[in-house]
């Protein structure tokens, strides 16, 4: 038995294999991200019974449906506050939010901002495919300016979020960006983040050849991967401007922030309980 075969068997224990095949299109990048996540969980030797995955709505939102741990497919944009409720009620659980760019940053943007500010102990795996895939390829909060989508037939006049910079500005203790081309870096990054605490954000630029690539000169999955390969630059100390994503331009990737020991909301609340029960009489 080969090492890869053993790994596959172990990984399959973390998948609801009876639900396969999955809904994702051939060539989609979400499976690569899910694979990296599961391998990181295995490497960490995490107890699957203490791991919770929460997703919102959309293509990436379906990830919760395939992982064989306590997993929740919630409403559009609300994965983070749902996860906050779980984590705050049961701080001993490892809670991971696995969702897409539209879900986390457009309809769910306010929750992202405030949960990051409070520093909830959550790992956010944010798959950014530049578009709303599930609904057929409309432009979203991460679509680069100028890109063609079904709702930007003359090019996108909108400008995209700079997700790592947003997360850093909110004090998130761990912030990284990779593409689906960087499978090993991504896996190492998730592995590291799983061992840290606080609001950890990993953005993964992922290919959607079916509804995004084909309208933007990258018709095949391979051509999108080649774009990621040729245009990615690793720069851990990237500036705001460098982190910005442009239409078919350079993609600056790396581990932009990694800080230990910022108290989480859950930790700070333990102190609140102590104060409430020790102060004054009754």
């Amino acid at each position: 038995m080969s090492i890869m075969e053993d790994l596959r068997r172990e990984e399959e224990k973390l998948l609801r294999t009876e639900r396969l095949p999955h809904v994702w299109c051939p060539g989609c990048g979400i499976g690569i991200v899910l694979n990296a996540f599961l391998r990181s969980v295995l490497r960490r030797n995490m107890d699957p019974n203490k791991l919770v995955v929460v997703s919102g709505i959309g293509c990436t939102g379906r990830a919760a449906g395939y992982v064989n741990v306590d997993s929740f497919h919630t409403t559009h944009g609300r994965a983070i506050p749902f996860a906050v409720g779980i984590k705050f009620a049961r701080p001993d659980l490892n809670v991971v939010v696995f969702s897409g760019d539209g879900d986390l940053f457009a309809i769910g943007g306010n929750h992202f901002i405030n949960a990051a500010r409070r520093n909830h102990d959550l790992l956010i795996i944010a798959v950014n495919n530049f578009t709303y895939g599930m609904t057929g390829g409309q432009h979203g909060p991460t679509t680069p300016t100028g890109a063609y989508t079904t709702t930007t037939p003359y090019g996108n006049p909108d400008r995209p979020f700079n997700i790592p910079h947003l997360a850093i500005s909110l004090g998130a203790p761990y912030v990284a960006r990779w593409t689906t081309y960087h499978v090993n870096q991504l896996q190492n990054s998730i592995h590291k983040a799983l061992g840290m605490k606080g609001f950890r954000v990993i953005e993964i630029i992922s290919q959607c050849p079916t509804v995004y690539g084909r309208r933007n000169y990258m018709r095949s999955p391979l051509s999108m991967m080649e774009y990621f390969q040729k245009n990615s630059i690793v720069k851990n100390d990237a500036t705001f401007e460098e982190m910005e994503l442009t239409y078919n331009g350079k993609i600056v990737v790396g581990e932009f922030r990694s800080v230990e020991d910022i108290p989480t909301y859950e930790e700070r609340y333990e102190d609140i309980i102590r104060r409430a029960q020790n102060e004054g009489g009754d």
Partner: protein
């Protein structure tokens, strides 16, 4: 550290404080909310009191986040609650539907104010009765309770949590601008006594599917972190919780979600029948408004009019049998343009009359009395 619990005795509380204390006594240990008049004092009391009993309070960024958080918390086994008013309920409704579809027990307080929109933030309204029932999209049944005194606001919280847990359904706990801010004396019994009132949810057995119902149509609930490997989705799903996007799965699931409530409606119904036995005219009323109605009924009786009051404590599922059983004429007194009036008409075999005010204040007893006189022909 020692937990600080309520002691037996008399307290002078507002409805908001009584709702918070009632919830804590009923076992609530998780609250997520966003301030809104006239419910904000519930959040304030929860912030003060929950950590004293080992519970957790969080002020979220909005009402949508608040309800999402309590649904998540409920999956860990906590009795979880949020409180808001009309504008907040409007924002919460999508996730009330998620809790219905995924069968998660939660209690949502709505202190009704004058509406639509921002309306009359500090004043009473009763315009959200249909919203409590039909607020989220889809065809579903829900439970809604509505007290009329501060004592009852405390006591009825036990029913709210017990019913939510028993039937795995959201309970909309209606208050109004009058009850929320009115102060009255409340008797709190000894802790041993109130703890006996608490009914816990059925817990799933090992190996049982998460949506495999018992004979009562309610599936025992698995909890996060106990090895059940739960999957829950707002999509139409099968007994495993897995999406099953077929008309057959939809038919089976949605029928059960409705029937698990309707089959038990008689256990859920709570009403107050005041001098209704021999009444020729019965005023149907609820919440703060019913205080004036009762006074009017007493006055009418002194004038020799056989009047009575039927006070609905359970609003949903609608206690229709209590309408059907009387051959009296009905007056439906409510602070809206006419909502429960239509439900009463649906079941009454007699005449049904309206008595409406658009909100801001309750009817005076004399206004109710005048209508009783008109209807009774005296």
């Amino acid at each position: 550290m020692t937990e600080k619990h309520l002691k037996e005795g008399y307290y002078f509380w507002s409805g908001d404080v009584a709702a918070a204390e009632g919830a804590i006594a009923a076992g609530c240990r998780f609250y997520a909310g966003y301030p809104i008049t006239p419910s904000s004092e519930i959040a304030e009391q929860m912030a003060l009191r929950l950590p004293q009993v080992g519970g957790r309070f969080i002020e979220m960024e909005d009402e949508i986040g608040s309800i999402a958080a309590i649904i998540g918390a409920s999956w860990t086994g906590e009795r979880a609650m949020t409180a808001t008013a009309g504008p907040g309920i409007s924002l919460m409704n999508e996730n009330i539907g998620l809790a219905v579809m995924t069968e998660v027990p939660i209690v949502v307080v709505n202190a009704m104010r004058g509406a639509p929109s921002t309306g009359l933030p500090t004043l009473i309204g009763q315009g959200d009765l249909m919203q409590a029932r039909y607020g989220s999209h889809g065809s579903y049944e829900i439970i809604s309770l509505y007290p009329n005194s501060i004592q009852e606001t405390f006591d009825l919280m036990f029913d709210a949590f017990n019913l939510a847990e028993k039937y795995r359904v959201p309970v909309i706990y209606l208050l109004d601008g009058l009850l929320a801010h009115m102060y009255e004396r409340v008797y709190v019994p000894p802790r041993e006594e109130w703890e006996k009132r608490i009914v816990r949810r059925k817990r799933a057995r090992k190996g049982q599917l998460p949506y495999e119902p018992d004979e009562d149509l309610v599936p025992p609930m698995p909890l996060i972190g106990e090895g059940f490997r739960i999957h829950a989705t707002g999509l139409t799903h099968d007994e495993r919780g897995y999406p099953n996007l077929t008309p057959q799965a939809q038919e089976k699931l949605i029928r059960r979600l409705n029937e698990k409530i309707l089959r038990h409606e008689r256990e859920i119904w709570k009403v107050e029948e005041f001098m209704t036995e021999d009444a020729d005219v019965i005023v149907v009323s609820f919440g703060g408004e019913s205080r004036a109605v009762k006074a009017a009924v007493k006055k009418a009786r002194k004038e020799g009019i056989k009047a009575g009051m039927l006070r609905l404590i359970t609003i949903w599922p609608f206690p229709w049998e209590y309408i059907r059983k009387y051959s009296a004429d009905f007056i439906v007194a409510e602070l809206n343009y006419g909502q429960i009036y239509h439900k009463v008409r649906e079941y009454a075999e007699t005449k049904v009359h309206k008595l409406n005010k658009m909100g801001g204040e309750i009817h005076t007893p004399d206004e109710v009395l005048k209508r009783i006189r008109e209807v009774s022909g005296k």
